[in-house]
């Protein structure tokens, strides 16, 4: 990946498009900044004037209330003005192109785009074509990357397990094939030299040459989560539960759904994560989701701080444009 796209020559964030291409120091800096912002979100006044006067546009080509809301809240807590623009595929098919849309918004002096798109590579494409003073944050592109979600997961793991990822065994369970979250998590975990990264899925949901991502591949849940310190469950989209990928949600739950009983194979202090929203009784049962190992709600809370960190760090630095 072309690093110069998201990192400027001073080594700072220019855009935030993928975990791939970041270095360990920058990743740690973002996590540390998120730690600071998480203090802000715990204050009675949850707002700081860092991005006052800046205009941020949530440019969503794919519906996602949850992600959009957390970016919106993060922007508001940084005192930025934020605009939500939802563009369905159909309105860009004919007539106005994506670039026309960008140009129009730029003309309104937007400082940052937060982009969600169903196509892999969409955020990169937009970053390549925005005006030099505009920053782009990837809020999920196709199956490619969802770097802020991965960061908040890493942030959560660091809080629970400490900063030494070298001694951790992390298992990612579920639809790896279609998951941009999993790809970003794997890159981040590798960047932090995680002891072992495993993916656990039936072959229909395992991408080709998955080992090349730097993971160990398992097709059986019990083996895959054996002695795991962290289990990250992925959301299974409804439309994939029945058909040629999986026969039924029932069978998926039987084989890959996490229950208290199956958790016995993992470490006693295993941490359970899920990007939400959970399909209870498909990916895991309620006992696990609401149980002592689950940090699912903490993930949501951390999402705001992580996005505040990324937005404030990627916001264009004036002097680097004039240099």
């Amino acid at each position: 990946m072309n690093n110069s796209r998201q990192i400027d020559r001073h080594g700072r964030l220019r855009h935030f498009l993928s975990i791939e291409g970041l270095n360990r120091k920058l990743l740690t800096d973002i996590l540390d900044a998120a730690e600071s912002f998480s203090g802000v979100t715990e204050q009675t006044v949850k707002k700081v004037p860092l991005l006052r006067g800046k205009t941020i546009v949530n440019l969503f080509f794919e519906a996602s209330t949850r992600t959009r809301t957390t970016f919106e809240l993060a922007a508001k807590r940084l005192s930025a003005d934020i605009l939500n623009i939802n563009i369905t595929q159909s309105s860009t098919v004919k007539g106005e192109t994506l670039l026309d849309t960008l140009r129009n918004l730029e003309a309104m002096h937007v400082d940052m785009f937060v982009v969600r798109h169903a196509d892999s590579g969409a955020a990169h494409f937009i970053a390549d074509h925005v005006a030099p003073h505009v920053s782009v944050i990837n809020a999920g592109d196709g199956r490619h990357a969802h770097p802020t979600q991965a960061l908040l997961d890493i942030f959560t793991i660091r809080r629970v397990k400490g900063p030494d990822f070298g001694r951790l065994r992390v298992a990612i369970v579920g639809d790896i094939m279609h998951s941009r979250v999993a790809r970003s998590q794997i890159h981040a975990l590798n960047l932090l030299n995680t002891g072992e990264i495993r993916i656990v899925a039936p072959k229909t949901l395992t991408p080709a040459h998955a080992e090349s991502l730097g993971v160990h591949v398992f097709h059986e849940l019990r083996k895959g989560i054996e002695d795991a310190d962290v289990i990250i469950m992925l959301r299974l989209q409804r439309e994939r539960m029945q058909g040629a990928l999986l026969p039924s949600e029932h069978e998926y739950y039987e084989l890959f759904g996490v229950t208290e009983a199956k958790l016995a194979a993992a470490k006693p202090d295993v941490t359970i994560m899920h990007p939400g929203p959970i399909n209870r009784g498909v990916e895991m049962d309620s006992e696990v989701a609401d149980g002592p190992h689950s940090v699912i709600l903490a993930q949501v809370t951390h999402g705001i701080a992580v996005r505040m960190a990324v937005m404030s760090m990627a916001m264009h630095h004036k002097e680097s444009a004039t240099e």
């Binding site: 990946m1 072309n2 490619h144 991408p207």
Partner: protein, 434 residues
């Protein structure tokens, strides 16, 4: 009755190295042209005193190139390119015959459609354009086209281009019907179900980028099915631009077994691999997708061996907007007329293939697949000639590219070898100086 000598246009191509693989000619020879035909090679026949001359010294004189697959986008997609613009590009690239697949709009499925393209090309007069007729009605993959009428109107074969056939029964019937009229069927082997909505080779790069993949099996499963039906129906078939080592191996095996099958490779696949899309470079978005380094190596070897008996440009010019989207939403295809010969010559530089073999794959090879009498400098043949300076270097850029489509990942490349003159049926249709 021959025309009076005084009326004959006579031309002498002087001092060049003539390479005509079809006739196993390679030497410093003069070429003599009378009207639209090759009159002689070597010694001047009678009546050539004072004939017009083209100085070909230092250059290679070879048959005009024959491109098996080039889209000129007319009719229907004139915002991308037209017969006029692409004819000029073809002539500048030394291409004197190019074959269009039928996926224009409307598709090529009636004699009138064939006639329209042929007449427009003749009017422009820069290159000869032949067409493949639709294998199914409207390329819908379900109903047969009127192949007899298409053949009578001059189509050089039938194809369903990149569109899928509904099922194997339709395919069997279509091949049988085409075989009835001794038409060659041009197949783009792709299992529609396996490739689904993929846009990149299902491999390491697509996995990393999260791009929907097209597995190798989409090509090999189709080739296996096609070969079975070819054997059953006895049709003469051509596989358009194979991309995988395994598919090439299957075709080589079938050829060895005596099946009447040929295959070509499109030139981008001899250079690019899946790695070239790793930065979401939409210029490298092609269908079928760029495969692995291993596949590229096998394609190069199969070209040398002759399993792949032609190189085509798979020219697909686009307007700029077609590529200005996120990778999966961009239109696939590379503009290739300008680079067919120079990228071919680079294969010689890289010791993939000998120069005469290259010229064969660009002339007699494809002409034979199309069943056309072109691609050689035989006496009496149409005087389609390409003269190029093999040492002239130039850069492919927006100033030098002649095609209307600037969509090529080779933009900015230093090219070695440039066409100086192109003759179409004895007529000078391109001259670098002029």
């Amino acid at each position: 009755m021959p025309a009076p000598a005084t009326m004959t246009q006579k031309l002498r191509l002087k001092g060049g190295r003539v390479i005509d693989p079809a006739n196993k000619v390679d030497g410093l020879l003069d070429v003599y042209i009378a009207d639209d035909r090759i009159a002689a090679l070597g010694d001047a026949p009678d009546g050539f005193d004072g004939a017009h001359e083209i100085d070909a010294s230092g250059c290679i004189v070879c048959p005009g190139l024959v491109d098996l697959c080039a889209r000129v986008r007319e009719p229907g997609y004139e915002h991308k390119a037209t017969i006029a613009t692409e004819s000029v590009a073809a002539a500048a690239g030394g291409i004197t015959t190019l074959c269009c697949p039928p996926d224009t709009n409307p598709v090529v499925e009636t004699p009138a459609d064939i006639e329209l393209i042929r007449l427009r090309a003749e009017k422009i007069g820069k290159t000869r354009i032949v067409t493949l007729g639709a294998l199914t009605h409207g390329l819908d993959g379900e109903r047969l086209s009127e192949m007899a009428a298409l053949k009578n109107a001059g189509c050089v074969g039938v194809s369903n281009a990149l569109r899928p056939l509904a099922n194997t029964l339709v395919q069997r019937r279509a091949l049988e019907y085409a075989a009835t009229f001794d038409l060659t069927v041009f197949l783009h082997p792709n299992d529609h179900w396996l490739s689904a909505n993929g846009c990149a080779h299902e491999g390491r790069v697509a996995t990393r980028l999260g791009l929907p993949g097209i597995p190798e099996a989409a090509e090999t499963a189709a080739v296996a099915r096609d070969l079975t039906l070819i054997e059953q129906t006895g049709i003469r078939a051509h596989f358009c631009h194979l991309t995988t080592a395994r598919a090439v191996h299957m075709v080589a095996r079938a050829q060895f077994d005596g099946l009447p099958v040929t295959a070509d490779v499109a030139i981008p696949y001899l250079y690019l691999t899946e790695v070239d899309i790793s930065d979401f470079d939409s210029r490298c978005h092609v269908i079928p997708p760029l495969r692995t380094t291993q596949d590229r190596l096998h394609l190069r070897e199969a070209l040398k061996r002759g399993t792949l008996s032609a190189i085509c440009s798979d020219h697909q010019p686009h307007e700029a907007d077609a590529k200005l989207r996120s990778f999966p939403s961009t239109e696939p295809g590379i503009s290739g007329l300008d680079t067919l010969l120079p990228l071919g010559l680079r294969l010689v530089d890289e010791h993939v293939i000998e120069l005469d073999e290259l010229i064969h794959r660009l002339t007699a090879g494809p002409s034979g697949i199309l069943g056309l009498p072109f691609g050689s400098l035989s006496v009496g043949a149409s005087a389609d000639v390409c003269i190029f300076d093999p040492d002239l270097t130039w850069q492919l850029n927006t100033d030098t590219i002649r095609s209307n489509g600037h969509n090529t990942p080779f933009m900015g490349w230093e090219m070695k070898g440039r066409v100086t003159h192109t003759l179409l049926a004895g007529k000078l249709v391109h001259s670098l100086a002029g």
